[in-house]
Each structure stands twice: as C-alpha cells, then as structure tokens.
Point group: C2
Chain length 358, copies 2
C-alpha cells in the first residue's frame, strides 16, 4: 500500500499519509504484519502539541466525508485553531484491510479486529508520529462513536473531551442482529465463495442487497415519506437508491465490509470492567457530549441516553435529522449547523485537565 495521493480539488489544505505500526498484535491473538493506518491531517500541531483533535471513521467511511463536510474554518472543527487528525479504521480499505494485505492474512484470512485494536493503533500513531499525548477532543460517528468511547475509557488521561455521535459504547442486541443481516446479504451470494472471489465486482448481487438494507434502516421512515431524496437531485426513490445508496456501497470490497461488521458487532467498553458497563462509563473523565440523531433507527436516542446517564461529566445533545443514522453524511440542510453548535459548546467548555487543576 503506497502513500495516499493528495487528490486534486480537495477543498482543504490536507495532508494525507500512511503510517506503519510495524507488527501489531491484535486482541483476538493474531499478529498483523506491517499494520498500516491511513490518516489525514488538517491545520498545524502547535509547539506544546496540545491542540490536537482526533476524528475516527465509521463503517464504510473514510476521512473523505470529514474533509468534505465537517472540517473547515467555518466549522467547529477549525484547522486554523486545531490540528485535526482523521484516522481511517482498520478494514476500511485505506488502512490495513483484507483486500490490501498479503498472505497469510489476505482476503478472507484477515484476522478479526476489535475496536480496542483500532484505538491502540491510533494512540501509537499519534504518539510515535506526532508526539501527541493529549487530545482536546475525540469524536466520531457510529463505529467512530464506538472508538470514541473506547478512547475515553482506555486512555482517560489523554482525552479531554469526547463526542460520540449516533453510536453506543456497548453494541446493542438489536444492532448485533441487524449487522448480522448485513453480513448475510453479502456472504449468501454464491459468488462470494467464502471470501475467495477474484474481484469484488463478482459479488455485485450480494453488495446490492447489502446496500438496500441500508436503504431500509439507514434513513428514517420520514425521509422516504417526505421524498427528501428530491433535494439531493434524484427523480424517484429508486433513482436515489441506485444513484446514491447502491453507488456508494457497491464498489466496496466484501471482505473489508465484513471485517468492519464483525468489529462493529462487538464494540463494548465494558470489556475493560468484566462486563460492568456502568463501571466502564463511570470511569470516563473526559467532558462528554453524547450526540444522538433523533430519527436514528440504528442507535435510537433512548439507547444513547441510557449510556449518557452513566457518564459523570456528560450531556445528551440530540441532533434533529430525518436523514436518520445516515444523517451523519451531512446531506441534510441544518445538520452541520447543529453539529457545529454542539461541538463548539464542547470545545468552549473546560475539558478534563482544566477541571482537574482547579
């Protein structure tokens, strides 16, 4: 895997690169040789190395969506003020993933990776590559929220503020079975052949079914009822599914998606506390805004709120979006204004360290 190209036309002055962690031992007991993380940075790290923000990525996502929508001088995630690092999760196709890894771990032989592996890898990258020992903020959506929670529990002294969006610290039982159905849509395609396909395009039918499941649960019922795809330039619901949902998911590599899905199903910070979720969340010292999307069918506000109540210095901030879970893609007018307001409030607040010195 070579350095990521600095693509032309990106809006921001961004530096993207790949960092090798060397051989990386995974929680499940396998060693990923020459484990690589792809990341993008925005802004400048100051002398004190204390102006860093970490953004984590979601299932199927890369740093690109943050480049395009979340980061900028007009946003709370302001690269003129902060040094912002977006790190692609293992398995997402840019960092070490089934499709870009050599044997013995190529393709379906790629080992199971856990959220904790990602977070340890990210911590190593930030420390070794940049000397960053403290983060003003860790934030991420969906699986990125899982990583955010993991950071706040695993490295409490390093996280001053945390903003998990549209995700939970412990994956819910419903989320588990829903993700199982996503996986089965892919693996049931005869062309999947146990993950030993020649080209991901062979698994097109399975990928299409996987995409359509996202249509059903990814948005809200109201999104479809109000025909909000019209504002995105589509002529019909089916046009939107073909041109947006299918087009987004179908080019992805099936084994990569399955790697992330397995990880997603098992996100659980209570692994640190023998299954005691209250103890794990109670140990968080970061100032935490639990941000939930009101129309999210994956991570309902109710589930997010129940976790927020277990975090000492926290607030529940509900974002209104009929985009539902996929509102995270920031396509709905008014969405980013809400995100900016909440993240702005959080960044303006005193984080953990200041509170401790008082």
């Amino acid at each position: 895997m070579s350095e990521l190209r600095q693509e032309e036309g990106w809006q921001l002055e961004e530096s993207s690169a790949v960092y090798s962690l060397g051989d990386f031992a995974l929680e499940e007991g396998y060693t990923l040789r020459d484990c690589k993380l792809a990341y993008a940075t925005f802004g400048e790290l100051n002398e004190a190395k204390d102006n860093a923000i970490l953004i984590t990525t979601w299932y199927s996502g890369t740093h690109q969506v943050f480049t395009d929508f979340y980061i900028g001088a007009e946003h709370a995630l302001n690269p003129e003020k902060y040094f912002i690092v977006v790190i692609n999760q293992i398995g997402n196709g840019l960092s070490s993933s089934p499709h870009n890894t050599a044997d013995p771990h190529a393709m379906a032989r790629f080992p199971h990776v856990r959220i904790g592996d990602d977070v340890r890898a990210q911590e190593q990258l930030l420390r070794e590559r940049f000397g960053i020992e403290e983060l003003q903020l860790v934030m991420g959506g969906s699986m990125g929220a899982q990583q955010t929670y993991e950071w706040a529990v695993r490295f409490p002294e390093k996280v001053k503020r945390a903003a998990p969006i549209a995700g939970t610290a412990k994956n819910t039982p419903h989320d588990f079975i829903r993700t199982e159905v996503l996986k089965e849509a892919i693996t049931s395609d005869p062309a999947f052949r146990g993950g030993c396909y020649e080209s991901s395009s062979e698994v097109r039918a399975g990928l299409a079914r996987h995409a359509r499941l996202w249509s059903v649960m990814g948005f809200s019922t109201e999104f479809w009822k109000r025909e909000q795809w019209r504002a995105l330039g589509f002529a019909s619901a089916d046009d939107f599914q073909v041109g947006f949902v299918d087009a987004y998911f179908e080019p992805m590599d099936p084994n990569n998606l399955l790697c992330m899905a397995w990880k997603w199903q098992r996100g659980d910070v209570s692994r640190h506390t023998d299954g005691d979720l209250a103890a794990a969340l109670g140990s968080i010292i970061a100032r935490t805004f639990v941000m939930s999307i009101d129309e999210d069918m994956f991570s309902p506000v109710r589930d997010c709120a129940a976790e927020q109540e277990l975090i000492p210095d926290s607030e529940l901030r509900v974002v209104e979006s009929t985009g539902g879970h996929l509102g995270l893609f920031a396509f709905e007018p008014g969405y980013m204004q809400q995100i900016d307001r909440h993240l702005g409030d959080l960044l303006d607040s005193s984080g953990t360290a200041e509170r401790r010195t008082r």
Copy 2:
C-alpha cells in the same frame, strides 16, 4: 383444496370451511378460476343478520392467531354476542394461493392480487354464504389493516365500525422498500429458480434470510435490549430467532409469501379517488379507531396518526407494546387487555347506522 380440518384442541367452538367464489376477476386483469376463501366462524349469526364482525388476516398470518388469542367470551371479540368471521387472505396458503392453485396459475404463474380483490371476495362470501349486508366491525392488523381501510372506503354502507391496527390505508414509501428487501431475500436464493422450485424446503436459505429480516424490523430495539424473548421460554436471542422467528416463517411457501408481499406493497385506498388520499379517507363513514403500536418500526404511530386525522369520525388509539409490529401476535402481557379495551369502547359506541338514524 379440501375443507379445513376442525383441529383438535382448539379452544373455541369454531367452524372453519372453504367457500368457492367461482371464477373471480382480479383488478390486474386476470381471472382466478374457482377462487376459494378459507374462513373460520365463531358464534351464531342472529336472525337479523346484524351481529357480524369481520376479521382480516396479515402477511403470513391465518385465522389461527385470532382463534388462539383474540376471540373468546373474555374478549371484546365475544362469540357469545357476535358472529365473528375470520377470512384468510388470498395467497396466505389456506385461501387460493400459488402453492394450491392449478395451472395456468400455479406457483410463480399465480396472478398479482390486490387488496381490493380480497375485499371484494370477502364481501361476496359474506353476502352469498351468510346473507350478511352489514358488519358491526371490520378489523385487522398490518395487511389486515389495509383490508379494513379498503372495506371502509369501498363499502362504506356496510361497515359500521372499523379498527385498522398497525397498518396504513396507503402503503408508505419506506414500507415499500422494506417489503422489497423481504422479497429479494427469497428471490435471490438460487434454489428459488424463478419460483419454479420443486419443494419450498429447497428455498430454505432464502426463507431463513427473510425470517431474519423480520427479526430486525418486526420487533422493537427495546424488545431485544430487554431480552423479552426470555419470557417466551428461550435461552438466548439466537435461540429465539431459531425457535420462534425462523420456525414461524421457514415452513411457508415462497411464492405464497411473494404473492402477499406484492399485494402489501400496493395497498392504497386512494386508488378509488385518483390518488387523493384525503378524499378517500374523508369518505369513510364508519366509526373508526386507528390503532397503532407505539414501538412499531413498520407503521410508526406518526404514519397512522396522519391518516387518522383525515377520517371524519375517528380516534387514534395507541397500543403500548415493545413487541413492535409483531406485537400483533399478542405474546406480550398486557397487549390483549389494551386491544380489548379499545375494541370494547369501539363496539360500545354508536356505529355509523345508528348515527345516521338520529
């Protein structure tokens, strides 16, 4: 298709039979030869023939669930007071269906059937077989709600009261794509072979995926979180899925399910009014209780409430059940008490006819 057996051990004195409508012309332009409706009756039709209640069935459902849970002297649907007829919808496996119909309409060649076809067939059965011209109540859940709405719009003078439960008069766009995904789970199984399988058990994999989709959307997120399957005698979520969800759906015939799914996707009373839903619902004269299940992910309260507001003499009655849409199966303690209370209130109220005579 022979007479349904009077099965031993049924709780109620029930009479079940099959009525042949003869050749039945469908809205889509095909003629179903010797179209048969399977039905069950409870109680006695009085001399005036004015104590009848019609219950319609849902996707995958038969009259059995009403026999087991909804009808009885202790319920609002009291056979000591009313003559209750449950009519199985076309395609459900008991009435004329792909799997029990001879060519030219056997199996995948079974013609498309619409909700309006079912309702016309039901009206013919009630009139020809029993001389029933007026119904004290029409009620049904999910696809049964679609039939209930169709009755109230198509035969307003015959319906004194209507209770559509957990369903909509016009299928929602989200419901359409969700049902499409259900269909694709079956049709994508290579063993489905365009509907020309030898035995439905060959399509077991597709039926299993179809069942698991019901796991994801049929119940509520809270049902899984609270592990409410425990109360049903299962040891784990997977045990419940295998022993309850899979076991329920997997013996069904794929072509039958697809027949019902196509019909379900196109339920729409505004077909009577050139697409004007307000006009269609505004024409209902039955006293109508729109009954919605608070945790229903298929037919959210919001969607049901929007339709209720368009019905002149109506009320919204929200049933609390973490069972979600499949709460209709009445497995949750307290569910039937709510249904009985609402149906009791409705049956105690003056229906259309009395109101008109005042």
